[in-house]
């Protein structure tokens, strides 16, 4: 049952959550029976998802549904009480947040977390941290490897910033940027870690419609140029329905529906739990 999305750049997905071109390939992310309890409250319960290696997937649901908690579980900010997470087939049991990042997941935060007292360029260079090759001693003594690696990092940082046309802001303190630019910088910093899967937590929050539509184009551009998967949480239905190939709907910590935009829009459970309420409000 192939359904079509009417966005220009997104290939036609299959009825399942992983698009056709990614079927048969190993999913970049598999989460099975994932769950966490906070003092009796099952914030996330039996969460299952599979994301293809070049898929743009969406995770939606009303406030407090547990979406951000899912991201925190995937990145090991919280240790799951149940379930398994596989990144490119690798079990992340015993992995820390740092190791999960090295395994290929990078993320942004719903409440922006930049290095506010550092410059935009330094923020991006921190994303590049593990690909910059020189020791602390070489850095303090300013050996040739320091100059070479720093020059490369500088160029790479500007290149990454240019995705969002932010290279002119390189020398500003991150904390002094306007809100929209801070959100974009977080994406650039995450991309700098060279991830296989990018998790975006409400990337369009606080953006105006023209910024949002630019962001949509940029998310697709990022997927196409870096050939990575994106899993995003978003309340802006234009964005979600416009660019997400597979969408999962979360309510009270449980997935209540999974499918393409059209399937989700026509799913009575979703309309009741989320879209319906939203339309009334």
């Amino acid at each position: 049952m192939a359904t079509r999305l009417d966005t220009k750049m997104v290939p036609i997905p299959s009825a399942g959550i992983v698009p056709e071109r990614d079927s048969g390939k190993m999913p970049v992310l598999v989460a099975a029976h994932l769950g966490i309890t906070f003092g009796g409250l099952k914030a996330v319960d039996d969460f299952n998802i599979s994301v293809g290696p070049t898929e743009i997937a969406g995770l939606i649901g009303p406030n407090g549904a547990g979406k951000t908690t899912v991201f925190n579980l995937l990145t090991k900010v919280y240790e799951p009480t149940h379930g398994t997470i596989l990144i490119n087939g690798r079990d992340t049991h015993n992995m820390s947040t740092v190791e999960v990042n090295k395994a290929g997941i990078a993320r942004t935060f719903q409440n922006i977390r930049l290095f506010n007292n550092l410059t935009v360029e330094e923020n991006v260079k921190l994303g590049l941290h593990n690909s910059i090759n020189y020791t602390t001693l070489e850095g303090v003594l300013r050996m040739p490897r320091y100059w070479k690696a720093e020059k490369e990092a500088h160029e790479r940082a500007l290149e990454l910033l240019s995705i969002f046309d932010m290279q002119d802001l390189a020398d500003y303190k991150a904390g002094n940027l306007p809100y929209g630019a801070q959100r974009r910088l977080e994406i650039v910093r995450a991309l700098a870690t060279n991830p296989k899967l990018l998790l975006l937590d409400e990337p369009a929050a606080g953006m105006n419609p023209s910024e949002t539509s630019e962001l949509m184009d940029n998310i697709i551009k990022i997927r196409d140029t870096f050939q990575i998967a994106v899993l995003l949480i978003e309340h802006d239905m234009n964005l979600v329905m416009g660019i997400c190939e597979g969408i999962a709907v979360l309510n009270y910590g449980k997935i209540i529906a999974k499918g393409t935009a059209e399937e989700i829009q026509n799913n009575p459970a979703v309309i009741e739990a989320y879209l319906g309420k939203k339309k009334e409000g």
Binding site: T97, N117, G139, D168
Partner: protein, 373 residues
């Protein structure tokens, strides 16, 4: 054009660093000239090395507090470890290396190494935790080190080193000497004229910190200060870099301690107490968190002034406390913070406007050119 702009901004930090080096060198040259002219009182002369010591203490504590963002209340403990280990080694080497300067250099290195090792030991249990545990543990550490050294007996004779705690449990052979004699501490050290070495040590510490801050590791240290969770999310090993910042800071304090010891013929562990730790913290806060030049100036001025104003020295700690509280009130005042933020945003807008205007001008010029053709 973009490149030019970037070069300028990069030079800005480098330039600012060189100004700091310059201030230190200028202070040294001026003091040397004044001393040659016989215009320096013996009181001030005696303060030159302590000034160097407190400057190093302040910039090294600023690495922990300002750059790493962890509060340490026991920095004097590392100074103490450096002072005693450095002095003991220096006295042990007295017969082997009669020349005082190389012995001082060795004792600086030894002091730094010992303080670094102790820094690792203190850091291991605490730095993995998140929260203000370091403040509590370093506070305890400072007191523990003080009583450990006060109860330590180390003697040297032809049979080698003797060591005991709490009571002197060994007899020294003929010609032997006590290196650390419990509460009496160190005595019989030969004083060295170490002002120049102190200045070089300041410059070295400044250089290490400046270079660190502008490198991969220093960036990581500042990143986890600004946002630990974000730092982890981009693959930065928080414990490793916390440890790195803390241990480098401890090592510098150790070297400062060894330098301090070289300036005296006798020294007790009680000299390095909680008051000393707080005093150095005051220098850091007054000079500005993360601001090394500020630390240099604050430490130098606040070491000289009270000595020159001896009459009021009883009220010194009181005055520091009031100043510290005052500064915290001012810098944590939301109204003032808001005001500062407003100014920054205004500056940002202004330069953004300027950029936009320049861009527009360029485009107008280009279209004019095209049309001209």
């Amino acid at each position: 054009m973009k490149n030019v702009q970037r070069k300028i901004s990069l030079n800005k930090t480098t330039k600012s660093n060189f100004v700091t080096y310059g201030i230190v060198i200028a202070a040294f040259v001026i003091m040397e000239i004044l001393m040659a002219a016989g215009m320096v009182s013996s009181l001030l002369k005696g303060l030159l090395v302590p000034i160097c010591v407190y400057v190093i203490m302040a910039i090294s504590l600023n690495l922990t507090v300002g750059v790493l963002g962890e509060l340490s209340l026991g920095h004097a403990g590392f100074m103490s470890v450096g002072a005693f280990s450095g002095a003991v080694v220096s006295m042990m080497l007295q017969s082997v290396i009669p020349d005082a300067i190389p012995r001082l250099l060795i004792s600086l290195v030894v002091g730094a190494i010992f303080a670094a090792i102790v820094g690792v030991l203190v850091g291991i249990p605490v730095l993995r935790l998140n929260g203000d545990y370091l403040a509590i543990v370093t506070l305890a550490f400072g007191e523990i080190i003080k009583s450990l050294i006060t109860n330590m007996y180390i003697g040297l004779d032809e049979n080698g080193l003797h060591f005991s705690m709490i009571k002197q449990k060994f007899e020294l052979a003929e010609g032997g000497k006590m290196l650390i004699d419990g509460p009496i501490g160190l005595s019989g050290m030969r004083k060295v004229d170490s002002f120049a070495i102190g200045i070089v040590l300041i410059l070295l510490c400044l250089m290490i910190i400046f270079h660190l801050v502008n490198s991969k590791s220093g960036r990581a240290i500042m990143a986890l200060r600004d946002n630990r969770i974000a730092a982890e999310s981009v693959g930065i090993n928080v414990t490793k870099y916390k440890m790195m910042g803390f241990v480098i800071s401890a090592a510098m304090a150790g070297a400062a301690g060894a330098l301090f010891a070289s300036n005296y013929s006798a020294l007790q562990a009680s000299k390095f107490d909680f008051n000393t730790s707080i005093l150095v913290l005051v220098f850091v806060v007054l000079g500005g968190l993360g601001n090394m030049r500020g630390s240099v100036i604050a430490a130098a001025l606040l070491t000289v002034l009270p000595e020159l104003l001896r009459a009021f020295s009883d009220y010194r700690m009181l005055a520091y406390a009031i100043v510290l509280i005052g500064i915290m009130l001012v810098t944590h005042n939301p109204a003032i913070a808001d005001r500062l933020k407003q100014i920054k945003i205004k500056q940002y807008k202004k330069s953004a406007d300027r950029k936009a205007a320049a861009m527009e001008k360029k485009m107008v010029r280009q279209t004019a050119k095209k049309e001209g053709k």
